[in-house]
Amino acid sequence: MSHSQATDKMMVELRDLNKWYGEFHVLKNINLEVKQGEKIVICGPSGSGKSTMIRCINHLEEHQKGDIIVNGIPLNEDIKNIEAIRKEVGMVFQHFNLFPHLTVLENCVLAPIWVKKMPRKQAEAEAMELLERVKIPDQALKYPGQLSGGQQQRVAIARSLCMNPDVMLFDEPTSALDPEMIKEVLDVMIELATEGMTMLCVTHEMGFAKTVADRVIFMDGGQIVEENEPHEFFNNPQHERTQLFLSQILQH
């Protein structure tokens, strides 16, 4: 679309990606190229492999065949490469996964201090800046258990951003939230998108997809079935399965 901020630099490349859970073939010949600044929304029925695919990108899941290249670094058995990729890739989970024994601020500064070896003062200052961006600086000294779901997810986003990633992966970030909290999280994600972050979002928030996505990807049965820019995707879906899926989620 016209507002796309994508550059020519390739950020994430998946080539003939295949993955099996034992006998079960979860990902079948996935090919995907994401340029710097591009925003991709991935949707599809449950069990279609969309979460598994983005979890392969930072090696939370191991793939058996094919290549993954993140910002020029090939993801292979080399632990140095895996660590390097994880430093470039931030991830937000469905269930937030904040560390309950640490305060919001400590959650944010933990990785910068222990992984990037940043001075605590600097890490805290940067974390406070990000907490302000997600609009909860006043909760910095509370524990995750004291916050609402929406606030926790915004902390989780800030925590990932503290590592200054080049790519952000969102794994159904609003699925575990009460309806009235979804908007506050989506607002933060939209702001992040307008600032030019490369994003891969697994989500069923079609409004979000229409607003920010450069491309929408529909997956089913471990394959990418359809891939298009949002306007075409929603108004003129090509495949039968896509039409069925869209009719099911958009009928309300």
Partner: protein, 407 residues
């Protein structure tokens, strides 16, 4: 509420309900509050009757047999020897002293056992969850074997099958001036000479220095982000500084070497086989239970926590140390306390192989010689109760301290 229930039973139609009195009193045995009061009064009177009967019966029996009660016997001469004592004790010491000797021996085995079982248990618990097949299976095998064999049998195994089958003192296994035989483990006793004070000083100075370095390292990390190998430095200082001072001050430490005189060794320090057998059995047995507790604690931390830490680029070791263990400890501490209490109480099995613990010395020999069963048994029970309560108290305090950081 109560009026509603009582009304609806008797008067199903709405018109009758209006005429009925608004609140009808239930019969007193149908009122939960009065009923619970009745049961408590009943229970209390039964307990009172039982205790009265026991005490009255005992006093009558004692009187009939002419046994005097009281704690006077504690100051009388004991007249028997004890195989191992942490304080000066001879046959001429009092029965009161046998109590102290037994108590100290019990505390010694409990403390040694708790330390060893905790270290071993934590290693085994983490090992059982290892990705390394061999390590995990070895740990599982260890736990299943030692958890499922009765403790008394394990004590017998270490004592009769391992330690008592060692050679006689004359055929002792010798290494570095120490000896192992069926009388125990005998090693040279260090005898400090003039100038050894420097080494002691160096040791404590190293502890202080390590503490200061740890503080400095934490501050520097906060300011610059640089990390410092604090643990390694601490070990180096605490071993290195006293060693250097020891060498420079001309090695002011004599050794009292054990020597074979007649049928046994004289000099040196002897660790009796009963202590070694009991310590091995208690530590190895309890470690198996602690390992399961630790495993449960680690498994109780959701997988999402590890994933989040991994996604942030943290290594496995740092994830374990900063994320998993602090959360697992909260689950681990209460059952760990139970294991400590079990170990302390199980140490009374010492009496089966003759380790001179409180039960063996005081509730055994002293009781037999004096016949003061009530006093001796109640003192012994009071000791175990006090030790257990102290352990619980400390562990609860520690637990509360780490729980507090949740919110």
């Amino acid at each position: 509420m109560s009026s509603d229930i009582s009304n609806s039973g008797h008067k199903p139609d709405g018109s009758a309900k209006q005429k009925a009195p608004p609140v009808s009193q239930p019969k007193f045995w149908n009122d939960p509050k009065k009923r619970s009061l009745l049961f408590q009064v009943l229970l209390l009177s039964i307990l009172g009757f039982v205790f009265y009967t026991i005490i009255d019966n005992t006093l009558t029996n004692l009187e009939q047999r002419g046994i005097t009660t009281g704690f006077d016997f504690l100051s009388r001469e004991a007249g028997f020897g004890i195989a191992m004592s942490l304080i000066d004790y001879t046959e001429a010491s009092s029965y009161g002293m046998t109590f102290i000797v037994g108590l100290l021996n019990t505390i010694l085995i409990a403390v040694l056992g708790i330390i060893a079982a905790t270290i071993l248990g934590f290693i085994l618990g983490v090992a059982r969850l290892s990705d390394n097949w061999l390590v995990a299976k070895f740990s599982a095998l260890y736990i299943e074997v030692f958890r499922n064999i009765p403790l008394l049998l394990q004590i017998f195994f270490w004592y009769y099958a391992v330690l008592r089958t060692l050679p006689q003192p004359r055929q002792s296994i010798e290494f570095f001036g120490s000896f192992i035989n069926n009388r125990g483990f005998i090693f040279p006793a260090p005898v400090p000479e003039a100038g050894f004070g420097w080494v002691t000083f160096g040791f404590f100075a190293a502890i202080v220095a390590s503490w200061l370095i740890a503080r400095w390292a934490r501050k520097r990390q906060e300011l610059t982000g640089q990390q410092f190998p604090v643990a390694l430095t601490t070990i180096g200082l605490i071993i290195g500084v006293p060693l250097v001072l020891f060498l420079f001050s001309g090695m002011p430490l004599g050794l009292d070497h054990p020597e074979l005189k007649g049928f046994n060794f004289k000099g040196g320090i002897t660790v009796i086989p009963e202590l070694i057998a009991l310590w091995l059995a208690l530590s190895i047995y309890t470690a198996a239970f602690i390992a399961e507790t630790v495993r449960a604690g680690i498994l109780a931390v959701s997988h999402g926590q590890t994933e989040a830490a991994t996604a942030l680029g943290m290594s496995k070791a740092k994830t374990l140390r900063l994320i998993v263990i602090p959360q697992a400890l909260r689950v681990v501490i209460p059952p760990l306390t139970s294991q400590y209490l079990n170990l302390t109480k199980n140490s009374s099995l010492a009496t089966a192989i003759g380790y001179p613990d409180l039960v063996n010395v005081f509730a055994g020999t002293t009781l037999n010689q004096t016949g003061q069963a009530i006093e001796v048994i109640s003192m012994t029970m009071a000791v175990y109760l006090a030790l257990s309560l102290m352990t619980s108290f400390f562990m609860n305090w520690y637990n509360a301290r780490i729980q507090l950081s949740e919110r």
